[in-house]
Symmetry: C2
Subunit: 345 residues, 2 copies
């Protein structure tokens, strides 16, 4: 390992500079080194990004077939309690689990960053569990990409079951859906999907629907909701996996139905492994991530180009003064970059 | 005007090739030509896009200070009925109104595309109103950009009050907020904001909150909801405009409270004109749209680059086979483009 002693910058002082340090650490399941590697991936310093990407490339041959499970649901549905219950159950079945979250809203409120570990107190103390909240200070695109890279690191470090929690409404579901094998939607007893703020598009992504908080006075309501959602699911077009999403009842608080949910997850994985959808889907996901990464990398490169740095402000000013349309300003900047490459020659 | 007779392609046959044809038509308030110009803006053919961008640049000097109003709210809150009621009221006050919608979900369901005009039957027949639904077949980014450009065309054609309707939950609100002066949030009587699927971030954007469907049995509920939302709004940080968002009650069905909502919109515009926030905000919005347009144009340029076209497939395949990370593949493609610019020289 190489803790570079020459870097005096405070931000950099604990970032070792050698990808083998991380890779070997992760392969021997050293959690502290795994955490360091995640910090590296989350860093926006360009030298850290280069190192992180080299590391991720070295991880590729070590990633085996794991189970990636997305867990979504509106605020208040009890995602953390559910994750704690099912996570502990999975550990009992011999699994090594990692719980990651995608929460772009935490960028402004900061609330959930502190909350994640305390909300899953038992799980965070379990020896075979690893919990890591959303990276801070990122756009949704950044959060999603870094969460996916964190997932790859966790898999390299031997975690075989990855739960990715997300916040319920909007675009983050699409990003999570593009990185998991199984998408689990948590709902509350009572209320149609519109009342629960769950859009049709999110219902359509679900491989398994769970009605949480099925306990006490909610029992009757939960059974009615189950019927309602089963009917709703029947109206959706057949899934690409050919799998029919079941609707289950559970109570994370009373630990009822949790074993059944886990059983269904296993049945689902057997099914999509059997018909080869699992492999096919992962390949399709790589298409998606390649396009996302391409866009991101291209933007970065362009922004840092000397010609863009030199002309951006004046061009932007012209747009703001309505002297030129945004489109023509963009075209001109691209032309400047193109010409400058020519001139270098 | 120049209806180019040489273009046999069916898609192109009704697209005149001369920007002056559109500009002059719009300036004399010819609605048919306005509609044609919008079709041009919505087209994804690159020659249409070039023409559309030239046209938009020519429109810039003709755009005066209009009132741009965003209207958002969860599905079922009665946005169309509200827009019809307030639109007709605005026309009575001598306004020329355009109603545009941003509905990315219409790409899959197609439902609302047919529905928009029929849902606003009276308004769509009013002489001083112009209604245009979301462009089809677009990503959210595309929908948003094209809706904004459609707004600029409507303004060139003399419409002084633009309503932009959006679908309630998610990212489209952010895009709408970035193109309007006044953001109006519609809510239903009863139920907290969480139940209505309205995220805190969307509440925070609101300049005016209206509780719709305040009629019959809802009256009591509406007054309670008003109090609740007023309290909620007080907890938010002060707005950049220094304006305090009021909570109003209305019934679009019974046309009660509509004049008051319109009055509040006018008061709001007086206020933000007085403290110069209106102008400042529009400039900030141009920053946003410049960045969005830059990203979009850059992606297009890169995708169409001969080197990218030549190497994309093999690079993507390598990513999918896990032979190379997405990041390194992206870097290599950028390098190829850079080198080819050099070679051209």
């Amino acid at each position: 390992m190489a803790l570079n002693p020459n870097l005096s910058n405070k931000k950099r002082k604990h970032i070792p500079q050698d990808t083998n340090y991380y890779l070997q650490g992760m392969l021997r399941k050293d959690r502290q080194i795994l955490s360091q590697a995640i910090t590296l991936v989350e860093s926006n310093l360009s030298e850290h990004q280069t190192l992180a990407q080299d590391l991720l490339e070295k991880c590729l041959p070590h990633i085996r077939m794991t189970q990636r499970i997305g867990v979504s649901g509106a605020p208040g549905v009890g995602k953390s309690t559910f994750l704690e219950a099912i996570g502990l159950h999975a550990i009992e079945q011999g699994k090594q689990i990692a719980v990651l979250t995608i929460d772009p809203s935490s960028q402004t409120s900061k609330g959930s960053i502190l909350g994640d570990k305390t909300r899953m107190a038992l799980l965070s103390n379990a020896p075979n569990a690893f919990i890591r909240p959303s990276p801070a200070g990122e756009t949704l695109g950044g959060v999603a990409r870094k969460t996916r890279e964190t997932m790859l690191l966790c898999e390299t470090a031997g975690f075989d079951t990855i739960f990715i929690e997300t916040v319920g409404v909007g675009q983050s579901e699409i990003a999570v859906h593009a990185m998991v094998d199984c998408f689990l939607l948590l709902l509350m007893p009572g209320g149609g999907d519109e009342l629960q703020g769950i859009k049709r598009g999110i219902m359509e992504m679900a491989d398994i629907v769970c009605i949480n908080k099925t306990d006490g006075e909610n029992l009757k309501l939960a059974h009615a909701a189950k019927k309602e959602f089963q009917n709703a699911l029947h109206l959706f077009p057949k899934k690409a996996s050919a799998w029919t999403p079941p609707v289950l009842l559970c109570s994370s608080l009373h630990k009822t139905g949790i074993a059944e949910v886990w059983q269904q997850i296993s049945t689902y994985f057997d099914y999509v492994q059997g018909n080869n959808y699992l492999t096919k889907n992962r390949k399709q996901q790589l298409h998606y991530w390649f396009r996302e990464t391409m866009d991101e990398t291209l933007k970065q490169w362009f922004k840092q180009h000397p010609m863009v740095q030199q002309h951006w402000d004046s061009m932007e000013q012209a747009v703001i003064e309505n002297q030129i349309s945004a489109f023509h300003a963009a075209k001109q900047l691209i032309q400047l970059v193109n010409q400058s490459s020519n001139d270098e020659h």
